[in-house]
Every structure is written in C-alpha cells, then in structure tokens.
Symmetry: C2
Subunit: 577 residues, 2 copies
C-alpha cells in the first residue's frame, strides 16, 4: 500500500515580514508533525511574501529570504517540506525549496513566468530550466509553481510522464469573482490528463490591491476534488493520498501512452532526485471526514472585500479607520465591510452635511451607524464652504456656478477626513465604486481622498447586491432599506441625481464591463443592445478619466480586470475607440 | 561608388493620434523626396506613438495602426522607407515596416523586448525570430529596433556578418541625464565591432512621464559620429553614406573574421530580401556641412523639463497652467519652466499667503512673476483656515497643534488651485521635487494636488543648479536671488525650516540616490561617509512614503530611476533595509 499523508499549509504571509512568515511556517511544521504528515507544502514565495515587486532588486531582501530559508531547513527534522522562496544563483528565480529532515534536497525554479494582468514576473525572475521528479521512497513527486500548472504541455505533464504520481503546485493566485471554478476545472483536467494526484496549495490574504483567496485543492487522478482549503482564511489541509490508485489507473488508461505527451516530456530536462529511501509509515490514525464547499456569489465577493480591507489596515499598522458617510449606499456598504473586517469599535463614521444634503440622507447615516454599532461624528461643512466662496468671490466674478462649487464641497470633506486621520492616526477608507471610478464621476482629492478604496472594483449594481447580502446575514437590517431604495445622488447641488450625468447603472455597468474588461469596441457594444450615443459617451468618460484613476488610492481587485496595474493606459492619448 | 543618401525623420508623435502621426510622416516623405533622399527612416512605433501600453489590447487600435501603415505605403512612390508600427500576425509585434516605391517589402519584428525599468514589452509583444538583410541594389542594409542594438551578439551583428553594411536602428529611447553619452559609446562600439555604418533614429517628445530626447546619430564604420539630430526638437537628419568605405574597411580589418561572431550570425535565421535592384543615382548636390554638438548638463535637464511639460500640457489639450507660488525655489523654477514651455501668457501664478507666510516670501513671489512676466493672483487662505479650525474645534479638543494643522493649510491651497482649474480649465502644475517626494515631505492632496509634477524627479540640489542655469540665460535675473539664497521652508508653522525635519539637502540627496536609484543598503551608504542614524531615518522615510507616491501626479523622468513605473514597490511591506 503506497500512501502519503500530505499537509498543505494555507498561510497568510506578509511581504518582507521574514520573522512573521518564518513563525507561521515553523508553527505549521510543528502542527504537521503532530498530525503525522509526511509531506508539508507552503504557498509560492511563502518565505518573503507575494508579490514582493521591486523589493527583489534589493540584494539584502534576497539575502534575508535565503537566511530565513536556512532557518526553516534547520527546523525540518523528521518531515519533508516544499516551501516557496526566492533563489539566487547568477540571477534570481521564483523557487520551491524541497527540504527533507534537516537537509535542502533541491530547489525547483518556476518555468512559466506570468507577465500579464497584474503580473510582472519577467521583470524579476529568470526562467527555470529543469523539471525534476522526486522520489520519496517509492512515490514519485513532481513540484511546480503557480503558472506552471496552467499549461497543458508544461512541467506537470513532463513530471507525470517521467514518473511523478503526485504533482504539487505551490501558488499565489489572486482572486477575482469566479476564479475558483476556473482553477478547479483546470486542475481537474490536469489531473485526469496526467492520471496524477494534484495538490494545489494557494496563498491566502490581502496584499495591496490583491486578495489571495486560499481555496487550496487536492484532486485525485480521476479529477475528483478530495480535499479543499477554506476560502479567505488560513487553513491546514490534510489528506491521505492513495498513490497505489494512480498506478492502477495508469495501467488501465489508454490515453496515458499518448505519443505527443511523451514527446513533450522528453523535450524537458528531467532530473530524477531522491528525497529519501525510507517509505512513509502507515500505522496512522485515519483523518476525520472533511466537508467540501465553496462560497457562492455574492458571499464570496463580500468575504474578499472583508479580508482585503482587514489585511491592508492591519499589515500597514493601523488600528482604526474613518469613513465619510453620506447616507448613500456606497459609504454604507464600506462601513459594514469595515465593521466585519475590524470590529465596530475600530470604525468611525463622519457625516459632513452641506446645505445640499437632504434630511433623509442625514437620518440614513445615523440609522446606519446605530444598526452597525459605530461611532458617528457630525461635522457640517457649510461655514467652510462659505469661506471658500467668499475668498474666491473676486476671482470667480462673472462666472456661473458649475462643477467647481460641487468639487469644493467634496474636497472640504476630503480635507476634514484627512485632518481626522492626521490627528488621530485613523486610516481613511474611500467609498467610490467601479462605475464611478470608470466614468470619473468622482472628485479627485475629494471623495477620492483616502488610503484604501474598498469597493473601487465593485460595479454599482453589485454594490446593491452586496448590501442586500449583508442585510441577509444578521437578524436585523444593517443597511437601512431607504438607503437601498432611494435613487443615487452625490447631493452636491439641489435635487442632483446620478442619472443627470450617467446612464442608469443597469445600463452603464454592462457597457463598462464590455469596454473596460473585455476590450470591446463601440460597434460591438452597440450590438449588445445599447444606443450609439450612450456607448460613445461612456467610452469617452472612461478614456478621459485616466488622469483621475492614476491618482486614486489602491483598492481590492474582484473582477478579471481592475483599474490599476491590471490595466495600464497612457494618460496622454488621442485614441478614440 | 556605392553611396546612399539617408534621411532620419526625428518626429514628435502622439500616442493614438493616427491622423496626426500620419501627417507628420507624409510631410517628412515629401521633404525627403525634395532632398533626394534614398532611404528615409522613422522612430519606433511612429505610426501609433510610443509607448501605447494597454491600448495595444484594443483590436481596433492595432487595426487603425495597420490602416495608417497602408496609407503610408500608398504614398511612398520613388522612395524607400523604414517606419515603426505594430504588426499583427497570430500575435502582435513591435515592428519596422520596410517600404519601397508603393510596396510593402517586408516587416521586421523586434527581437529583444525590454521588460525592466519603465518598460513592459513582454506584456504586449511576441519576440521576433527572423534577422533579414535587405538589398537596395548592391547595398546591404540591416534593420532592427531600439533594444536590439544594445546586445553585442544581437541582430545588428548577425546582419553585419550576413552582408549588411548599413545598420538602421529605429528607436524610442527615453531620456535620463547622461544617457546620450551611454548611447553614443554603445553605438560606436557596435559600429566598429561590426565594421558597419549605424544610423540610429530616436523619437523626440514627451509622453506622460517620459521624455524622448531625439539626439539621433549616424556613426561611420570607424565609430565616428558623422551626423546628429537636435536634442529635444524635431529634426530631419540627412547624410550621404559612403558604403564603399565599409567594404574597404572590412577587407583590411582582422577582427572582421572573428569566429565567434560568425557563429552568432549563423545561429540566427538570416533572410536575404531584395528591396530594389535599381541603384540610387548619384548626381546629387552635396549636403551642407552640419555642426555636431550635444547640450551639456544642466542645460540638457532643463530642456527635458521644458519639452516634457510642453508636450504633457499640449497633447492633453490644455492651453494654460496654474501654479501655486510660495516664493520658494521649487515653485519659482516650475514657473520659469512653464513660461519657457508655454509662453508667459499661458502661465498663471497664485500666491496663497497664510498667517505663517513670511513677508519676504510674498515679495519674492511677486518679484518672480514680474521678472518672468506672468499674471499673479493673490488669494489669502487665513479665513478659510480659521473656518476649518473653528469647525473642527470640538473634535480636536484637548489635542495639541501638530502636522494636522499644517496639512490643512496645504490642502486648502490644493483645493483653491483645483477650483481655479475647474472654473477656468487651467492645468495645475505641482512643484514638489524628488527629495521631498522620496521622503514624503509633502502633503497628499495639498501641495501634491495637480495634474503634472514638473520637477518630481529633480533632487533639490539640482533644483538650485537649474534655477541658476535659468538665470544665466537671460540678460537679467528671473528667479530672484533671495529665493535661491534663503534657507528652504514650507512655512506651515512659525519659523519652520526644512532642516527641522530633514538632513541638509547636500547630505540628503546623495543618500537618496544611493538608496533609491542604486539599491544600496544601509551599511553601504554609511560607508560612503554618513551617520547611521541619518541613513536609517532617511531609508524609513522613503519606505513609509510609498502610499503618498502611489497617489502622486505623473512627472518627468530625468534620472536613471524615477518614482512611478520605474520603481514598483508594494505599499504593504514589513521589510526594513
């Protein structure tokens, strides 16, 4: 009976926190020993955190990472470990260290370096060349990293066709809504194509604009999910792998001898490396059954926003956050997310009514803070606004009120929130959604002022869904129904409505998705059933707002293409779609 | 006598301005015909502008680029043209179209794609494979693109060893101080190593954070500069190339048959393609002699700032700019640059005195505006400041005045400048220098508020040099001597000096260069002769200000590593150098 007890440590690392990351790794090793785990894995770049970006150019960063790796090696007696780290030879590599019983057995170098979307790995890493297959007694093991497994004729296949029965992929795969399904489908295909068990160890946690959702998976050689890590939480996933079943299945699988795949395997430089001659012992108590489940939309997105907010605030050393509350749905949702991320006592709401604020909005902000149990400061801006208008009177003589006066209000609010931040050390959370960010329906240095933009990548129509989802969680309503029901307004002039400036969000959002996320052109979007005028206007708004987005705070990516480094457009451009 | 009259059109293209770029290209073709030019070249991606970034993901952008290319082909009767464009086969390529007499002869694909510093070309382009050598009658010509020529055993060498006597490199090489010398040295080496004439056609103009400085060069087979384009200006460089001299030199050059280079050439897939069988006629009037000269520092940096500002403002459709004038040297220099870029009538200065502004500063701002001939608005902020302090009184009860009150002032000024921008359509230029940007000695949404940060990459010590340089240009002093002589101060509290918070700039700047641009660690910088405490403090200031820089407006790169996409650091990081 060839069996292997695997443990996948789905930990939440922090970039550059070598001490903290080491602690988490050593704690998982201790836990794994107690559970009789033979082989323990960690996520991609677990030693230094992911993605380290240009910190990789600092030689001392790489050196500390290697020092930390050595400490982990020293502490690995009696267990086999796969851990992500940076390796330095003549150049640097995104690597997986294979450690056994106090000894560094080998270091695998990532072969497929992603350089699209949010990724810049060609900027940093050399491409790995070797495709090792490890032997743990009579079990063949292949190790590769993240992107490597997404290619049909990649390292996993070469390893399988060279004797690997268990393929371990250590990963740092950023979340977007729906990505879990795509990953599972791909992993299932890879497992069945290679008739191999696949253990996919993903990272969990927030890092600037990215949330890694964990959701690690083990699939058997039939492509069936046999174990799964929690989503958006740390976890240690333990499973007993029936390696004998892989052998039997390969004997009976006609596809296993496909010529083309064999050729691919032959093209690779396969090294055969023995980790240990000693077989894992199997007088182990069996594992308790584990429930498999994946969160469903919009719960999943909501959890991503909570984790992303929590980690940005905490990893950057903040305790409390402050949020401007307009009584609208965006700020109400952000406040609820902040409460779930940080606790009500760490969230301060600020109402800053102006002469154009409706009494309903002020009441809604109050009701919200009572419902979610946060402190509310009320700081009216009327007098400050008057002093600006008075001061600018001479210069503005002969001009009609326009967007200038609206922006002054928004910027007074930004200044007040920043003053509270400066005085009390609270981080300002901004409340703009993706529909606004896309169209520039925001004030730079006004409502855009703050450290973290929680719902920056959430289209307005999804904001409504998330608010309703949040309300469905507790026994009583958190976000007042009137907030959800009233027509959206910036309330910067009398009787203002968002629809004065923008198409209704039910029309705007699909146009934005097509234009921003799918690179569709005007004609293609019109063919989806929208008017030419509207589509043209929206495209122009998106194009001409690039300068605002360039100065926007970071926020959590939850769609396949977020603004930020996921979408890099010039400000200076005369191109009209 | 084998001779070739070459013309290099050093034009200022705009990203996505297909119509405008085509016009410039066709105008240059007309001019070239009149001058009897046989072979006319254009910069890298001249058709679509450089760098187009994620616009390349829009199929319509690529399609319009090909349409424009076809128009250029149609208009090429009687001349040979090399022009940069995007080519689309199964994927897209950074390409050079070779056009002759109304016919597209071939398209070369760039082989070395830069993916470091400000460059992301692996994100977009496939790597070229072929290394063609073209025949224009009996003259061998190699064409390659920008990065291709920086590699010793790259396409240029393969082409030379396969019969190319003239190597054309079309380029879009961004400026930083001193880069011209590096380019000339490299091109000279490449010319002598390959015993070939090298014609290097660089782009000119500003695009967001980059300035392309032109400075195109032709070097003969001995590595001597025989023609050179203007720096920071459009130009058409014309030269008669003595190709016969290359042949003679090769006969006599023992290095020419070096084995290793021959091998390199053989490894490449060299295609031999005939452009035309007809030799260029040589009853042409000879060219007037051309003065060779390169600007010297700091004139060069000053010109880069002028061009970068001019192009950002004009290409984004602005007419006028507005600048907050503190009476300090940073804002004075920016105002002078703006005047040189846009003309005095397009620059508005705004003095916004507070209770902490010294009378000297107000007088200095006035004197500056009189000297450079721009309008000055004076908008005191005392009353607005009072209304903020009054409004926040209750919330701030029991706290001592601190940086909060200083930031409120800076943000009031930001709000006023943005209000003028909104009301009158003026672009706000910010005035922060690189030393401040590095250390976070700036107020987010305050003095950082604006569309373009002219001297963002200029260290403070260089700001002084540039101010003195500017003053040396005219008959009389532009930037008042008192501005240059007084100790720098933000004037946000009584008797404030920069040195209250920062080390003197003569010490700070070399530390910043070592830490930011050279990735030196604390120990290495201390060994340069600075105190451990000071270096540690500066490094911490740089590390913890990343969040501010992330929201900074774009500004002109003039050093080897600017903040922005040249240096991509996480905000969330626990790494301490």
């Amino acid at each position: 009976m060839r069996r292997l007890r695997i443990g996948m440590a789905q930990i939440n690392t922090t970039v550059g926190d070598f001490l903290g990351n080491k602690k988490k790794i050593l704690r998982a090793i201790d836990e794994a020993r107690a559970l009789g785990i033979d082989l323990l894995t960690f996520p991609e770049l677990a030693i230094c955190g992911y993605p380290p970006e240009d910190l990789l150019f600092k030689p001392q960063f790489v050196a500390e990472n290697l020092k930390t790796l050595n400490a982990v090696v020293s502490d690995s007696s009696g267990i086999t470990i796969i851990v992500g780290c940076v390796n330095a030879r003549e150049d640097i590599y995104n690597a997986a260290a294979v450690i056994h019983d106090g000894r560094l057995v080998d270091i695998y170098h990532k072969i497929y370096l992603p350089n699209y979307g949010v990724f810049d790995e060609n900027r940093y890493f050399q491409t790995g060349k070797g495709v090792p297959v490890y032997r743990l007694a009579d079990i063949g093991i292949g190790v590769n990293i993240c992107e490597d497994i997404w290619y049909e004729a990649g390292p996993a296949t070469a390893q399988a066709y060279s004797g690997a029965e268990v393929i371990i992929n250590i990963s740092a795969s950023p979340y977007h809504a729906g990505k879990g399904d795509a990953r599972r489908k791909m992993l299932s295909t890879r497992a069945t194509d290679n008739v191999a068990i696949i253990a996919y160890n993903n990272l969990v946690g927030g890092q600037d604009e990215l949330v890694f959702d964990g959701n690690s998976m083990i699939l058997d050689e039939k492509g069936e999910l046999i174990a799964q890590g929690k989503q958006f939480e740390e976890d240690l996933i333990v499973a007993d792998l029936d390696v004998e079943a892989v052998f039997r299945a390969r004997l009976h699988d006609p596809r296993w001898r496909k010529e083309s795949l064999l050729l691919d395997a032959e093209r690779c430089q396969v090294a055969r490396i023995t980790i240990s001659d000693k077989a894992p012992e199997y007088d182990k108590p069996s594992l308790p059954p584990r429930q498999l489940q994946t969160m469903k939309w919009p719960a999943e997105v909501y959890s991503a926003l909570v984790l992303g907010t929590q980690d940005y605030v905490r990893k950057n050393g903040f305790q409390k956050v402050v949020i401007g509350l307009s009584g609208g749905i965006d700020s109400s949702l952000v406040a609820a997310i902040a409460v779930d991320a940080l606790g009500a006592s760490n969230v301060v709401g600020v109402a800053m009514p102006s002469p154009y604020s409706s009494p309903g909005s002020i009441a809604d902000a109050k009701a919200l803070t009572q419902n979610i149990g946060i402190k509310l400061l009320t700081i009216p801006i009327g007098e400050i606004l008057q002093s600006y208008l008075e001061t600018l009177k001479d210069n503005f003589q002969g001009t009609a009120p326009d967007i200038t006066e609206e922006n002054i209000q928004a910027r007074i609010r930004g200044n007040i929130l920043m003053a509270l931040s400066n005085k009390f050390g609270w981080l300002v959370l901004t409340t703009g959604n993706k529909s606004e960010t896309a169209t520039g329906y925001t004030t730079l240095y006004g409502d855009m002022a703050g450290g973290f933009a929680v719902i920056k990548d959430v289209p307005k129509t999804l904001v409504y869904e998330l608010a309703k989802y949040r309300n469905s969680l507790g026994a009583r309503t958190s976000i007042p129904t009137s907030v959800i029901d009233k027509p959206p307004s910036a309330e910067l002039r009398p009787d203002q409505k968002d629809t004065d400036t923008l198409p209704p969000y039910e029309q705007l959002d699909p146009v934005l998705t097509a234009y921003v996320e799918e690179d569709k052109n005007i004609e293609q979007i019109v063919n989806m059933g929208f008017s030419l005028d509207m589509v043209k206007k929206v495209a122009r708004l998106v194009d001409t707002s690039e300068y605002k987005r360039r100065q926007a705070p970071p926020g959590i990516k939850i769609t396949p293409r977020a603004f930020g480094r996921d979408r890099r457009l010039p400000i200076t451009s005369r191109f009209k779609s």
